[in-house]
Each structure stands twice: as structure tokens, then as C-alpha cells.
């Protein structure tokens, strides 16, 4: 029999189009505010800075969002994996023999931190979380306790002050000009890494069998299991991927932010805001909300710097943005009832 298929109907529903439109209008609004208050060079730096922050939020929030969708676990230790990634990177970077080229140290730190984050995530999922899948409140307490324990252990080993940023490869340790203003090449590198991961995870979810299993599992993991798929193994794999991405994010940030015990908590709070704005368990929502929150914070930071002389505006901007989104869309921008 010859098989022919009708073209599919539009996969994007009206609600999805509306969410994309709201997001686009929000970006345009931010752009207009920037152009009204700042010169073009500053606007360009604010936008790049917003993208840079957004990608860091994405690296923490992406795994959290997918894990929440599939496992119904809000992993409050996700920020700790981000922080551990930074410290693991430092440890690997410093452990290599003297004379090792900076680029080799840097790549080794990136790979090693990612693997360490994934490995630890696997241990946490198998040993601690798996027995608690039927007790959601216990999971929250466990991951919160884990975050506190990891932070205290790191504080005990490395001290409370944190570590100064490690040296990135020479090619990334430069600046470039945008409309007369200067922007660090390394922050552009973070944007590129974040964007590549955003696209890769999206392709994984949309184009691979694992992605189909994950998307199906978000809706009905029991039926996925009844189709002959070992869902527990998929849970572990997804958890490992989520923590590995967070650890990669931490190490990627290390040459710019350094490493300090509270960095996990700081990024966790904003990551939760990102997930709520995007719509719980929506990967697309998390990706877009990361960028929107990054741009909002960067704009607020610049306004604070120029007009208010206080960072308070930047600190509350993401929270205010979340409140406004929830008033308009109680399920978040891309969330479903």
C-alpha cells in the first residue's frame, strides 16, 4: 500500500500564538524604554547583557522545568548544581599541571564540571529522590535540605568569601565594540553556549525518541510505562541531563562571576521566577521567559545605575514581572490549564 499523508493542521494553537505575541510585544516595549532613556551604544550593551543573564537563568531553569514536568519534582537543589559546577571547574582548572595551556584547562574544566554535575545528579536521583516519588512534600524538603547541605559543605571547604574568577582562554578574554560601547567577549561566549544548549535541548525534545518519551511522560508517565518503556531509567536520565546542564552553566559563569557558596541560591530564586513566568513544565516557556527576565533585569539595572543610584530596581524587576504575568495569565505565558 502506498502511504500518503495530508499536511498537518497548524500545530501552534491560538493560545500559543497569543503567548508568542505577548512575548514579542514585551521585548519591543523594553526596547522602546531603552531607546527613550539611553544612547544606542548603551542600549546594545543592555540587550547583550540581558541575553547573557537570560542564558545563565536558562541553564539553571531548563533542567528544573523538564524535571518538574516529567517527575513532578521541584528540584530546589538545582541551583546547588550550578554552584557545584563552578567549584568543580575551579578544582579541575587548578589541578592540571603547571604549563598546561589555558584553553586546555578551560575545556577540561567545562567537560569535567558537566560530568561531575551529571554524576552527582544521578546519585541524588537514584539514592534519594526515587524512594520519594510518591511523597511530593518529602521531595521538596529533601531537595531544600540538600541545597542547604551542599552550600554549607562548600562553605566549610572553600570558605565563605568565594573564589576569584578563573582566567578564560585568551581569545575570549577581550572586549569588542558595539555602537561605541564596549562588551566583554566572554559574555558573548556565554550567550552562544546558552543559545546552542537551548536549540540542542529543543531538538532533543522534538526530534528524538527520547524527546517523544519525555513529552509523553510529562502528560502520563504511567501509560508510557505501559507501552514498554522503563520510565524510571528515563527519569534518571532526565535528572542527570538537568543537573549536568546546570553544572555546565556554573562553570561557564565561573570566569565571569567567580564561585561563591550563595550563587546557587541566587540563581535558583530567579530560575523559579523564570519557570513560573514561562508556565510550569513548558520548556519553550522556560526558554523564552529566561530571555525576557534577563532583558528585564538588564534594563532595570541600567535604569537603577543611571537614575536611582540603587540596585533595588534590578532586584525586584523579575518579581514584579512575574506578578504582572500571573495577573494576566495565571498559568504563565506558555502554561496550560
Amino acid at each position: 500500500m502506498t502511504t500518503t499523508f495530508d499536511s498537518s493542521p497548524a500545530l501552534r494553537t491560538g493560545a500559543l500564538r497569543q503567548s508568542l505575541l505577548i512575548s514579542a510585544l514585551f521585548v519591543v516595549g523594553l526596547l522602546v524604554i531603552n531607546l527613550l532613556f539611553f544612547p544606542v551604544g548603551t542600549v546594545a550593551v543592555v540587550l547583550l547583557s540581558g541575553l547573557y543573564q537570560g542564558m545563565l537563568f536558562f541553564l539553571v531553569a531548563a533542567g528544573m522545568s523538564i524535571v518538574f514536568g516529567l517527575l513532578d519534582v521541584l528540584n530546589l537543589a538545582q541551583g546547588s548544581f550550578f554552584m557545584l559546577g563552578a567549584y568543580a571547574g575551579f578544582a579541575i582548572y587548578g589541578a592540571l599541571p603547571e604549563g598546561t595551556p589555558t584553553t586546555v584547562r578551560f575545556v577540561a574544566a567545562l567537560v569535567g564540571a558537566t560530568l561531575a554535575g551529571g554524576l552527582l545528579g544521578g546519585v541524588v536521583e537514584i539514592a534519594l529522590l526515587r524512594p520519594l516519588y510518591v511523597r511530593p512534600i518529602f521531595q521538596i524538603v529533601l531537595t531544600l535540605g540538600l541545597a542547604t547541605a551542599i552550600e554549607e559543605i562548600v562553605r566549610e571547604i572553600y570558605g565563605p568569601a568565594g573564589l576569584i574568577p578563573i582566567e578564560p582562554p585568551a581569545a575570549l578574554d577581550t572586549t569588542f565594540g558595539v555602537f561605541g560601547a564596549q562588551f566583554e567577549t566572554y559574555r558573548l561566549f556565554i550567550i552562544v553556549v546558552g543559545f546552542l544548549l537551548m536549540v540542542s535541548v529543543s531538538l532533543l525534545l522534538q526530534r528524538t525518541r527520547l524527546g517523544i518519551i519525555i513529552r509523553a511522560g510529562v502528560q502520563d508517565s504511567e501509560m508510557v510505562e505501559a507501552l514498554g518503556i522503563n520510565v524510571r531509567r528515563v527519569f534518571t536520565l532526565v535528572f542527570v541531563l538537568g543537573t549536568a546542564v546546570a553544572a555546565l552553566g556554573g562553570m561557564t559563569a565561573a570566569p565571569f562571576l567567580g564561585a561563591y557558596p550563595t550563587m546557587g541560591t541566587q540563581f535558583l530564586l530567579t530560575a523559579i521566577i523564570v519557570i513560573v513566568i514561562g508556565g510550569m513544565s513548558s520548556y519553550e516557556g522556560t526558554a523564552i521567559a529566561s530571555i525576557l527576565v534577563g532583558l528585564t533585569r538588564a534594563t532595570a539595572e541600567q535604569l537603577s545605575l543611571q537614575y536611582f543610584n540603587t540596585p533595588i530596581l534590578a532586584s525586584v524587576s523579575a518579581l514584579v514581572f512575574m506578578v504582572i504575568v500571573l495577573l494576566v495569565r495565571p498559568t504563565g505565558l506558555f502554561g496550560r490549564e
Binding site: 499523508f5 509523553a216 505501559a226
Partner: protein, 234 residues
């Protein structure tokens, strides 16, 4: 005719509630066996117990000579049991193609089965790239059954295939299930006695969590008193 599936004195609890209080039945190969009974009798729980989704606490479930009680659902499915739940469990965000691909247990399985699936359910060919959530109830039911056909299952557990469907779709579904019995064994739960009596070769009546009567469907059809006593429909 060999026995594909055998349940011996199966007891299943949901929380503290004792739902199955001793279900025993045998399903002969290449036949359609229907579980009959009033609402809440334990028919769906029997299918879920077989699949390991609501694992039994007591009793034996033997599939092709192998005890399967206590095994995890994915393992039971991999042994060759397909499950079509009463709520159909179509993944709304996935296309028809992705819903089918999800059921593959070996690479290329779907490609090999596609012609057969389209022969039994021609509508699915036209809807192949549609999201599952945009299908009608009847189309979702077709997809749910088709999904169970992708792997080489030797037993299909189908729960209430006619529920909520228009009469014309019910007829189509009946024809499809009848055609399946040539190549596989079917254990069906069906409230609609008309559908059950026209499809099944054997019946098992479940009442208050116990299997109370079984035999050839033709014998049940010719015994209105029995039908009325257990099912309230003659």
C-alpha cells in the same frame, strides 16, 4: 487451543480498599474474551492488575507460562501485552505518528506495521501528522488500539472500546477488533452487551471483585436469565 493468560485467585487493593477479592480466569489463544459486570465490579482493575499498574497482593497471573505478578508494567508490556485503557491515554501534544512511534520496541517496527494499521484504521493515514489532542473521540480510540498493534503483542487488553462513541464508529471499532482476533488474542472489558455479544467468543462475569461465571458467549446470549441476574440487561 492453548491458554495465553491465566489468573488464579487474584486479590488487588487500591489504598485500603479491597477491589479484587478473588478473580480467576483463562484466556484461550487467538480468541476474544470479554469481562462483563456492572459498574465498579472490578473489570478495569483486573486489566490494570494484569499490566502491573495496580499490582495484585495475592494470587498468580501467568502469561505464556511465565508468572508476571510483581513485575513492573514496562517489563510486562515487553513480554507482549498491549494495553488500551478506557480513557485512551492519547498523548495530546504528540502527533499521531509520534504516538505510534512511542510504542515501538524495536527500530523499524512502526514502518513494518504501518500498512496493517492503515488497513484496519484508514482514517489514521489522513491524520498521521495531526496532534492527538485534535482527534475526535472515535479517532483517538482508533489510535489507542493502533498503538497497541505497533509491537508484536500476543495479547491485547482493551478497556471499554465503545465507550462514548457514536454508533457508526462503534461498528467500525467492532470490525477492527474482530479482524485483530485473527492475529492476536484479545481480553476486552465492555459494558455494552450488544458489542460484547457480537465480538466475544468467551465471557467472564465479574461481580463485587470476584469472577462468578464464565463460558462460551453463545451460551450466555441464549440465557437471558443469567444476563439479567448479573448484568441487568437482557
Amino acid at each position: 487451543m492453548g491458554i495465553v493468560l491465566q489468573l488464579e485467585n487474584v486479590h488487588t487493593f487500591i489504598g485500603q480498599y479491597h477491589i479484587l477479592e478473588g478473580v480467576s480466569l483463562e484466556v484461550p489463544e487467538k480468541s476474544i474474551t470479554v469481562l462483563l459486570g456492572r459498574n465498579g465490579a472490578g473489570k478495569t482493575t483486573t486489566l490494570r492488575s494484569i499490566m502491573g499498574l495496580t499490582p495484585p497482593r495475592e494470587g498468580r497471573i501467568v502469561f505464556r507460562g511465565q508468572e508476571i505478578q510483581g513485575k513492573r508494567p514496562f517489563h510486562i508490556a515487553q513480554l507482549g501485552i498491549g494495553y488500551v485503557p478506557d480513557y485512551r491515554a492519547i498523548f495530546r501534544q504528540l502527533t499521531v505518528a509520534e504516538n505510534l512511534r512511542l510504542a515501538e520496541r524495536k527500530p523499524g517496527e512502526l514502518a513494518r506495521k504501518l500498512d496493517l494499521i492503515f488497513e484496519i484504521f484508514p482514517d489514521l493515514q489522513r491524520l498521521y501528522h495531526w496532534p492527538g489532542g485534535q482527534l475526535s473521540g472515535g479517532q483517538q480510540q482508533m489510535l489507542a488500539v493502533a498503538r497497541a498493534l505497533v509491537p508484536d503483542n500476543s495479547l491485547l487488553l482493551i478497556d471499554e472500546p465503545s465507550e462514548g462513541l457514536a454508533p457508526v464508529i462503534v461498528e467500525q471499532m467492532m470490525a477492527a477488533i474482530r479482524s485483530l482476533s485473527d492475529r492476536t488474542t484479545v481480553l476486552l472489558v465492555e459494558q455494552n452487551f450488544y458489542v460484547a455479544s457480537h465480538l466475544a467468543d468467551q465471557y467472564v462475569i465479574i461481580e463485587d471483585g470476584r469472577s462468578v461465571q464464565n463460558g462460551r458467549m453463545s451460551e450466555l446470549v441464549s440465557n437471558p436469565e443469567l444476563v439479567n441476574r448479573y448484568l441487568g440487561a437482557a
